[in-house]
């Protein structure tokens, strides 16, 4: 009992996000079947798996743009399962969605300002701009350009930058390397590592790009058909040859 309590308090201390037995989908189709995962504070956690495994749905359900059917989502020990997306953003949870979803007719600067929409974030806007421009210096030259006129890599930087303007504690990224040239993929992953290093951001991301993901992750979950099939440090995952071949194709 005392050990349980101790574990509970210590667990709370280091856990940023905990997903417990989560079920969701797009009615009538269920996608997630009792998913469990954890993101430790200040860690980079990745969620890998084949197409259609439910990786994107997991992020969307945690963020709230897809409603959970069952299970619990805990954030810093607080039950946030039923919270609407805008409240989650205020609490520091942000999603960089697949396909970026920038505001195409707004300039880079206007896009970034929208990220600082919540009152708390608006107060820290100046500081946030510096952070974003130090991570992605190229955006500083593009401030007045429309988002739709940027290259794919620059758009991804704006999407990550916009999410940073929110001043999140945890950032979830849905396939950040999608459609990018290898050189840019490296840049995006470097930015993720720097965000963790410089502001202690916790990161949960979904990827198809297995090798690079294993390189930068602290912890990896392998997902298939709506639930977690394996988990471990990148080293442990690399050692699980059969799992890697079955679910990741590498």
């Amino acid at each position: 009992m005392i050990r349980g309590l101790l574990r509970f308090t210590l667990g709370r201390e280091s856990e940023m996000l905990k997903v417990d037995n989560l079920e969701s989908g797009y009615r009538p189709m269920q996608v997630l079947w009792g998913l469990n995962l954890e993101v430790k504070k200040g860690s980079i956690t990745s969620l890998l798996g084949p197409n259609g495994a439910g990786k994107s749905t997991t992020l969307k359900t945690v963020f709230g743009s897809v409603l959970p059917w069952n299970g619990k989502i805990l954030y810093e020990g607080m039950d946030i399962t039923e919270l609407p997306t805008h409240s989650k953003v205020e609490k520091g949870i942000v999603l960089v969605p697949e396909g970026r979803h920038l505001f195409p007719n707004m300039t880079v600067k206007e896009n970034l300002i929208m990220g600082a929409y919540s009152e708390e974030a608006a107060k820290r806007q100046v500081e946030s701009f510096e952070l974003v421009y130090s991570l992605f210096p190229v955006l500083k030259e593009r401030t007045k350009q429309r988002a739709s006129s940027l290259s794919g890599g620059e758009q991804q930087m704006v999407a990550i930058g916009r999410a940073l303007m929110v001043r999140p504690k945890i950032m979830m990224l849905d396939e950040p390397s999608q459609g990018l040239a290898p050189r840019l993929v490296i840049q995006v992953f470097e930015a993720i590592e720097r965000m963790r290093g410089e502001i202690g951001l916790s990161v949960l991301f979904v990827e198809q790009n297995v090798e690079t993901s294993l390189d930068i992750s602290d912890y990896v979950y392998i997902m298939h058909e709506g639930s977690i099939k394996a988990e471990g440090t990148p080293k442990e995952i690399r050692a699980l040859t059969d799992i890697r071949e079955a679910y990741l194709g590498v």
């Binding site: 963020f63 997306t85 805008h86 960089v96 969605p97 195409p104 929208m114």
Partner: protein, 295 residues
């Protein structure tokens, strides 16, 4: 003589066009944010004309008073319909919201008929006229023009300068993007619907400054049709585009009337509709998204 007639009609067309444009902004705002087509649009314009009629005839007040009142009535009705009906249909197939707005339009018409009866109504609000070299303009029409322009400017400033307006533009540009910025998208839906209906009812009042006779519960249909044409012309989803679309529509409708009446043996009025649709076709061929539309 012809030139004088043409410039006279174009002046009328400009004013009427500004009113048309103003009357379409609400439709476009709602479409832009929610992708819902308000088929009952004209009924709300009709409601506005009756607000103006009632204020002038029963209360003996200047119809200017009816402008803010109509906005408030429209905003309240919009919120009510959103809360009980439209808000529940935001994720439903388009046909559901089409039927719902159609039903709401009919409801408004029947309630108006119940209160005011189905006979044609009208009133004469005369505050004098201005004689220009080519035409005589009642001052009420000048009011209508100025107020329409002011409303457009106000809407533009709201969308550009305020926090809620910016959030609304973000929802128009990318709903999912707005959500990840922490914008309460459902609240923006409610706001756009309430403001959209408020603007539409208000435009009915302004319409009576131009033409204050022939008011009846079923007059809205013609305005719904015009608003659809104007919305497409100006660019679906762009409130400002709707205004410019309206101005062009008004100019073409009135200008072509003058020119068509020169041709002997035809009935110019019915042909103006042909000409306006023809212009619409041409503009859409050149710019498929409308004047200020975005894809």
């Amino acid at each position: 003589m012809l030139l004088q007639q043409l410039s006279g009609n174009l002046t009328q067309g400009l004013i009427l066009g500004a009113i048309y444009g103003m009357a379409t902004m609400g439709l476009n705002l709602i479409f832009g944010v929610m992708k819902i087509v308000n088929v009952g649009h004209g009924a709300f314009i009709m409601l506005g004309t009756f607000v103006s009629f009632a204020i002038f005839t029963y209360l003996g007040l200047t119809p200017i008073v009816a402008i803010p009142l109509a906005f408030i009535v429209g905003f309240a009705l919009g919120s009510l319909f959103f809360y009980f009906i439209i808000g529940k249909l935001t994720n439903a197939p388009e046909l559901n919201s089409l039927l719902a707005t159609f039903a709401i339009g009919m409801l408004i018409e029947e309630v108006t008929k119940f209160i005011f009866g189905s006979e044609w109504r009208g009133f004469t609000w005369d505050v004098g006229r201005v004689t220009l070299p080519f035409t005589v303009l009642p001052i009420t029409k000048i009011y209508a023009f100025i107020i329409s322009i002011l409303v457009v400017i106000a809407l533009y400033l709201w969308l550009r300068m305020t926090r809620s307006g910016t959030a609304l533009r973000a929802v128009v540009e990318d709903k999912e993007g707005a959500r990840v910025c922490g914008i309460n998208v459902d609240r923006m839906y409610a706001l756009s619907f309430s403001i959209g209906i408020g603007l539409t009812v208000m435009s009915g009042v302004i319409l009576t400054f131009f033409i204050s006779v022939g008011l009846n519960p079923y007059m809205g249909g013609a305005y719904t049709l015009r608003a659809f044409v104007i919305a497409v012309l100006g660019g679906l989803g762009s409130p400002l585009g709707a205004f410019f679309g309206g101005v062009i529509f008004g100019l073409v409708e009135n200008g072509s009337y003058t020119l068509l009446s020169l041709i002997p043996g035809i009935e110019p009025f019915s042909l103006t509709r042909f000409v306006t649709f023809f212009i619409l076709l041409i503009i859409l061929l050149v710019r498929p998204t409308g004047l200020l539309g975005v894809k």
